[in-house]
């Protein structure tokens, strides 16, 4: 589904990713772990198309399409969706309006018409219930005045409504208490499907107790230095990243 090949990325003249290679197949859940500054967030940002990241070498393809040549919205329309570590506040724009605009923009790109309002409301209410969110969330401005946990839940709510092919979640566990983490993890687990892949970027192992990955990659200094299964995450928890770095060196 997603192939990242020998990716080199520079931010403000500094090379952050130094030849990263990664393949994700449909139905798989991947976790990328690594110490701060290793380039974890850079990877998902580059895939989503954020400004300010210069790809100097390598390629990213998604279902055979060259991702680097696509506009930001085209990537989302193709089924690549990024859940933010720090979701942005948009005053005056109702949450429900953003959801509806996003869903209909994606449907339009697929040549489908707008979803009829009753059907849309039914869908949203169902997902809202799943995320244990109150209906008043829909009428509030996007992320405005949301607590950290509410923001993260809102990101997952968007995923549940938009149903991406590849869901990328950047540090979705940061700032969550244990109850909120469980709700978020339930949301993510409900996305698991044969035709869908999930990419988790996280610093801590604890998220992976709730969302058990098929593959764990350790990202150190811009490169994936080790790949394993869920057990690898536990090893990291026990020994820290330093052990890995040493074994590589």
């Amino acid at each position: 589904m997603l192939q990242v090949n020998d990716l080199h990325v520079t931010v403000e003249g500094k090379e952050i990713l130094k030849g990263l290679t990664l393949t994700i197949n449909a139905g798989e859940v991947h976790a990328i772990m690594g110490p701060n500054g290793a380039g974890k967030s850079t990877l998902s940002a580059v895939i989503a198309g954020k400004d300010g990241y210069e790809v100097t070498q390598g390629s990213i393809t998604f279902e055979g399409q060259n991702v680097l040549e696509m506009e930001i919205e085209e990537r989302a329309q193709a089924g690549l969706l990024l859940g933010f570590q720090y979701p942005v506040e948009i005053p005056g724009v109702k949450n429900i309006y953003l959801l509806k605009s996003a869903l209909n923009a994606q449907r339009a790109a697929r040549g489908e018409g707008e979803m009829p309002a009753p059907e849309f409301m039914k869908l949203v209410k169902e997902k809202l219930g799943f995320m244990k969110m109150d209906a008043s969330f829909l009428q509030r401005a996007v992320n405005e005045g949301f607590s950290g946990g509410e923001k993260k839940r809102n990101e997952i709510l968007q995923m549940l409504v938009l149903q991406p092919k590849l869901a990328m979640l950047d540090e979705i566990d940061s700032g969550l208490d244990i109850d909120a983490m469980k709700v978020v993890a339930d949301g993510v687990n409900s996305l698991r499907a044969e035709e869908r892949a999930i990419l988790l970027v996280t610093h801590y192992q604890r998220l992976l107790d709730y969302i058990v990955p098929d593959k764990v990659h350790v990202l150190v200094d811009g490169r994936i230095v080790k790949t394993g299964d869920a057990e690898l995450a536990k090893e990291l928890e026990a020994n820290g990243y330093e052990g890995i770095e040493e074994s590589v060196a």
Binding site: I72, E73, A76, F84, P87, I90, G92, V93, A105
Partner: protein
């Protein structure tokens, strides 16, 4: 007009001459007492009106053009302006839409303006009879049945002299400010509305439907009076960009609300802002003021300002009547090289008066915008309250936004609240929306409309829809 003819006119004393035998319909540039006499005569005005104008002119001569606004424009040569011109003859106007600036037509298309109206707006000579004429006739009949007077100010001066004498210049005195004095001396067009006691005007009044209002005047004068318990909603302007030969516009609007009366005045203004360098745009120096003369009277200003090269405009309320209410809801958008210095004044005189200000400024391109607001609480205005919210949104990094709030509180029982924010349409907001599949253009429009929502919901329904479309067109290409 030949120059010797003009000289003759100039030499002649206005009191004797000017009544007959003036063949030309257009005055050459220049302003003196004869110019004013010519205008007054052309309008068939009575003597007292001419005296009123001349008084204004004489006071204007002693005044200085204000320079306190945060605006930068070359000095205006008032002698280089023609103060009375007949509509352009058909042969001097574009003969078809093919001769009109394609960019203008593109805008009409985007705003969804019907074809036959596009031609009229672009100044094309057209013979077609508009639907609006018949609509207007129906309207007139309904209004007459309700007892509402709605006509041009010139007609009102001729037909309702007592009302004019009683109210004209009582809210904005002739020498109120430089531009108001100039307007008082030379105004040539505008509207007059009178809603008698206890009457709710049966429809929203719009200049658009006023018969004989084909040309927007350079110096418009509007007077609206609501007697006790009367109500009216008045719409001014048009979302379509209006071409106008006159660069300087100095309008005066006066509103008078008696006991329990309610006047709602909505403006959507989209005059030509000039080309990319700001050349040729309209200078708009407007004095708009309403007076709640009666108890529990309410005046509400709502404005959406997107046009003009220069905007100088502060719709205000004098809250004289006990428990009267003044409101100001404003969205001002500047793009390109536009400059706007706009805001409001709320003058609390009566006991228990309340005012509410919501001002939203959006600056894009290389534009510069200021909010300037005064809240004044007089010594007798016990328990007066004001709430002000003033938000600026910046798009790009070459524009500017400034806020100048003034407060003069002469009373310890007053309550004043002021909230202000300045934000930028951040790249991260855009990225967030785009990464959900929404195009950049739609994302900008979504963010901007969200920002303006509090004001748009004050507009009459169809105006609100048009205003949203207008905003999108105005800000097109503002990002990236």
């Amino acid at each position: 007009m030949a120059s010797e003819e003009m000289e003759q006119l100039v030499r002649r004393d206005y009191k004797e001459g000017f009544v007959t035998d003036i063949e030309s319909d257009t005055l050459p540039p220049g302003l003196d007492e004869n110019t004013i006499a010519f205008i007054s005569n052309k309008k068939g005005e009575p003597e007292w009106m001419l005296e009123w104008r001349l008084d204004a002119y004489r006071q204007w001569l002693k005044m200085q053009e204000p320079s306190w606004a945060h605006l930068d424009y070359p000095p205006i040569d008032y002698q280089a302006i023609s103060y009375f011109s007949a509509p352009k003859r058909p042969e001097d106007r574009p003969q078809s839409l093919d001769e009109v600036d394609p960019k203008l037509l593109e805008t009409y298309e985007k705003l969804g303006i019907p074809l036959h109206e596009r031609a009229a707006l672009a100044g094309v000579a057209v013979d077609a009879v508009f639907d609006s004429v018949s609509v207007a006739t129906t309207f007139k009949k309904q209004l007459a049945e309700a007892g509402v007077i709605f006509c041009s100010i010139s007609e009102a001066i001729r037909d309702y002299p007592d009302l004019i004498k009683q109210y004209l210049g009582t809210v904005v005195p002739v020498a109120d400010n430089y531009f108001a004095a100039l307007n008082s001396a030379v105004f040539t067009d505008g509207s007059f509305v009178f809603v008698p006691e206890g009457v709710t005007c049966p429809m929203e009044l719009s200049t658009y439907f006023r018969i004989n209002a084909a040309n927007t005047g350079q110096f418009e004068r509007t007077l609206i009076i609501c007697e006790s318990r009367a109500q009216v909603s008045y719409l001014e302007g048009c979302t379509a960009p209006m071409r106008d030969e006159n660069q300087l516009h100095a309008a005066v609007v006066e509103l008078v609300a008696l006991d329990d009366a309610y006047i709602k005045y909505s403006t959507v203004q989209n005059w030509y802002p000039g080309d990319e360098d700001g050349k040729g745009g309209i200078y708009n120096f407007v004095t708009k003021r309403g007076e709640c003369r009666g108890e529990r009277a309410r005046i509400s200003w709502t404005q959406v300002e997107t046009g003009s090269a220069i905007t100088w405009k502060y719709p205000s309320c004098i809250l004289r009547g006990k428990d009267s209410i003044g409101e100001f809801y404003s969205v001002a958008v500047t793009n390109g090289r536009q400059q706007a210095d706009t805001g409001t004044k709320m003058i609390h005189i009566g006991e228990g008066t309340r005012s509410y200000i919501v001002a939203k400024g959006i600056s894009a391109g290389k534009s510069d915008q200021s909010y300037r607001g005064l809240v004044k609480i007089g010594p007798r205005a016990k328990g007066a309250r004001n709430f002000t919210q003033c938000d600026s949104l910046l798009i790009g990094d070459k524009c500017g936004a400034h806020t100048f709030p003034y407060q003069e509180i002469g009373n310890s029982t007053a309550t004043i609240e002021h909230e202000a924010t300045t934000s930028k349409i951040g790249e991260d907001q855009l990225f967030y929306c785009q990464s959900r599949g929404i195009s950049e253009e739609d994302a900008v429009s979504m963010i901007v409309n969200g920002f303006c929502k509090d004001v748009f919901q004050e507009l009459p329904m169809e105006f609100a829809v048009e205003a949203e479309a207008l905003l999108n067109v105005t800000l097109e290409g503002a990002v990236g």
